[in-house]
Amino acid sequence: MNAIGQDIPRRDGHAKVTGNATYAYETDVDNAAYCALLQATIAKGHITEIDITDALALPGVLTILTPGDVQKLAHVDNPELAVLQDNHIAYRGQIIGAVIADTSEIARHATELIHLSYHVDDHDSAFTADRDDLHTPKALVTGAPADTTTGDVDTAMRTAPHTIDHTYSTATNHNNPLEPHATTALWQDDTLVLWDSTQGVHAVRTDLAEVLRLRPDQVRVICPYVGGGFGAKGEPHAHVVIAALAARALPCRPVRLALTRAQMFTLVGYRPPTVQHTRLAADDTGALTAIAITSTSPTSAMREYVEHAAAPTRMMYAAPNRATRHRLAALDIAVPTWMRAPGECPGMFGPEVAIDELATALGIDPIDLRVANEPEVDPETGKPFSSRNLVACLRQGADRFGWADRAPRREGDWLVGTGVAAAVFPAFTNRATASIRYERGHYVVEIGAADLGTGAWTVLPQIAADALGVPLHLVDIGIGDTTYPYASVAGGSTGTATWGSAVLVAAETFRDKFGTDPTEGDEAEGSHDTGPFNEHYSTYAFGAQFAEVRVHADTAEIRVPRLLGVFAAGRIINPRTARSQFTGGMTMGLSMALHETSSLDPRFGHVINHDLAEYHIASCADATDVQAYWIDEEDPHVNPLGAKGIGEIGIVGTAAAIVNAAHHATGVRVRDLPLTLDKLLPGLP
């Protein structure tokens, strides 16, 4: 019996493609009211007057929430959640009120009838890496220190025969999942029910109960389906609290709140830009003697977020002298958050382009240069890697891609080149509990996980079927509801490994207690928590990204006709959903490389290209041939399941591979994303 490894179609696929899957906003409730948000149009200051008379007089308006006129919320770590507590405005677009009405049209109309006066303070929203008020964060999100130093990089740079010393930058990117954030909220019998589009129902319950001063058992969060999140739904944002307050103001009447696409550019986080001062020193053979990076990013003065882009440099390549630093500028801007492969995604841009520059300078193949600098143990911790198959990925990718005959060429009007970059993402697990109940001949697995489109509905039954030793069709699954046992958020590429490990333990417990012939209603639980695995090993997934780039000789238009990735990510549970994760990440990486940039205007303090016509995401015509492969990797050390997580590594390194290929095609080295034609044009003949 081997369900794991089988190419199983998504269990939720049919419901989704036929429109029968209900998303948070579509929850079937009676007599729903609708909530529309009022947002600040200044970047800093406070409201001096707010007049809701006209708005309240509009027929169909039920109630209006204004600053200081709502429940006193509990103080929590996340100041984003402290909505409408006072008149203070910390960034342009901040929620400063909400209208609840019989229809969404009336609610939105009423927001236009609210009259506001502001006291405006000077704001500072302009990010540069040479500001004199940069600060060093206390720690990274992983708990690791902001800065690390080994040896003496400056001396190595002075004495090495070959050095690279450049500044690279990545742009502000917005997560922009297809489904806008949405919540349907119902307050009834001292209980709050939230149908919320989220990556973690339990995380929403914990945060909302705390901020609303409720017991966790007074809050139920339900989320069967999510139309993507990419980190922006990794924790509740302010609008979820607004939806809850609105529901509380209208007991027994469900309230729907969906963000507009424009609101998603201010209210639900984004990947901040990074400026990466990157230095490499090498001897004549290409062996690195030093590697160093300082990554500088903006954060919001309201809440600190560290994009840990210097982190991957700590463990990627061997070099005796090493230094990594993070610096932040706290500005009057919206709050950044996780976006697919936070840290690693931007952090593998600068260094992987720098490696390519070094290879070019030395006349060494960039694959050989990377292989030459493979560390024997994790350079940061000195621990062995639980498994590290970067070299295998590079070699297999080179064969599949046709790397060997890579001389740049001209085909008609197009200049053609190829590029490579490495990818890495840590393999963590988190905490989860699963239950298994025997019911009418089926095994019902329940776990409070969320499927944000990754395949949890499908892969968790595969894991359970094998663990129980039963055919797949005898396993039923329940996820996306806080009535199911606690499960960690679908983030950090930890979902399948964490929840799957809990399912493994639950299955083992079930068999131990009830044997192979259980009776109706028999039930067992099993839990997984981080470690002890990570204490002895350094656990990462690796990959190699290959790109072919074509640049138009006249106009410098850029096309990527081929992307190919090979990954080593432990055990692959379902090749169909896995391939979708890898190629989806790679496509998003292509999008980051060529298109995505949020245009913040510091004069106003907000992003002004806040729709999908002006914020470019790769279209189908841009991503024509994206292929993903993987190495069969058995890693008994990483976690009980042997799976490393695949949701994020596909986006890591893609942009560097594309930029390296564009250089190969044209001879023009671009160090700032996105790679747009105006950056290549001056270098073309």
């Binding site: 236009e112 006249d554 002006e614 279209s619 034609l677």
Partner: protein
């Protein structure tokens, strides 16, 4: 979004009178731009007058050319065999614009009347002289990648977003208009205006004027026309620059030419100066470059937060050369 009244008249003259006498009325055709504006709070009409029953859809032969009914969908124009063979630049322009879904909704008359996608125009919380006269132009000193290098003013640096209108301008199309005083015609080259001191007005049309048809004149040269659009992604993006061109050569000497630019001005930019520079010259890159540079001598690129748009000058020059070279080699 505010409530509004909706009228679906069946008599064109009555509809024109209704709109002409009501400053807060506006026509609704495909709605692909207007509905966005209603949601974004860019415009607040009290009355929408649906043109569906008072305009025709369809393409008819007309004095050796074609007459395109105002209600004809963009997708139908692009697919029409006569358009594809006799006016390929128009078909190419249409297919390079928007998305399949939008082209299925957008109409012949609506497309040239779409408004700028300047992000400051589309964000009702920022100053914009086109949206709120006298409030200032936020694009100046802001993000100007999509903005003008020709014919802008201190009041507005927006570009016209239509691809179709650039082709119509090059192909000497004529608009059939029904106004309060009756029908009239207007060359497409005269439809759009430069911003000057009043950027609120995109075109010379008077309030209430209704475009009823677009006429493509008979012109064998148009058979050798094409539309080249350069943009930031392979599909669904507005032009950074675009070129509609037609070229006739005899024994390697240029005998006739049409040239219009998109993405560089408040209107589709008919490049008369470049056309003159091409006539009688040998068909080669040097000639094309000289012609493009003649047209761009007055170009004034903008500085901006994102590095400005000075790249559009060499980009347009190179695109003109590549397009004309390609036409000559066909």
């Amino acid at each position: 979004m505010r409530p509004f009244d909706y009228l679906a008249p069946t008599d064109a003259a009555t509809a024109v009178r209704t709109v002409a006498t009501n400053p807060t009325a506006t026509y609704l055709a495909g709605g692909t731009n207007l509905v966005d504006h209603l949601k974004l709070g860019i415009t607040h009409p009290d009355l929408l007058v649906d043109t569906a029953a008072i305009t025709t859809a369809g393409i008819t032969d007309h004095h050796g050319g074609l007459l395109i009914g105002a209600a004809t969908r963009n997708s139908d124009i692009a697919a029409d065999h006569r358009v594809r063979t006799r006016y390929p630049a128009l078909a190419e322009a249409l297919l390079s614009g928007a998305s399949g879904q939008l082209r299925n909704m957008a109409t012949a008359a609506g497309n040239p009347l779409q408004r700028t996608r300047c992000p400051y125009f589309q964000d009702a919380t920022t100053p914009c002289n086109k949206r709120r006269p006298g409030s200032g132009c936020a694009a100046i000193g802001g993000h100007t990648r999509g903005h003008a290098i020709l014919g802008a003013s201190d009041h507005c640096v927006a570009t016209h977003p239509s691809d179709m209108a650039v082709a119509l301008t090059a192909l000497d199309a004529t608009l059939h208009i029904l106004g309060p005083d009756g029908p009239r015609t207007l060359p497409c080259t005269d439809l759009h205006r430069l911003p000057g001191t009043d950027p609120t007005r995109d075109t010379v049309l008077e309030h209430g004027d209704l475009i009823t048809a677009i006429e493509l004149p008979h012109n064998p040269l148009a058979r050798r026309s094409r539309y080249r659009k350069v943009r930031d992604r392979a599909s669904y993006a507005f032009a950074l620059v675009s070129v509609a061109a037609a070229l006739e050569t005899t024994d390697g000497i240029i005998t006739d030419a049409r040239l219009a630019f998109g993405g560089v001005a408040h209107k589709p930019w008919r490049a008369y100066r470049a056309e003159q520079a091409l006539l009688g010259q040998p068909a080669n890159d040097t000639t094309y470059r000289t012609a493009a540079e003649a047209e761009l001598t007055d170009a004034q690129p903008l500085n901006g937060l994102d590095g400005g748009n000075s790249f559009k000058v060499p980009l347009l020059t190179r695109t003109v050369i590549a397009t004309l070279r390609n036409l000559d080699q066909r």
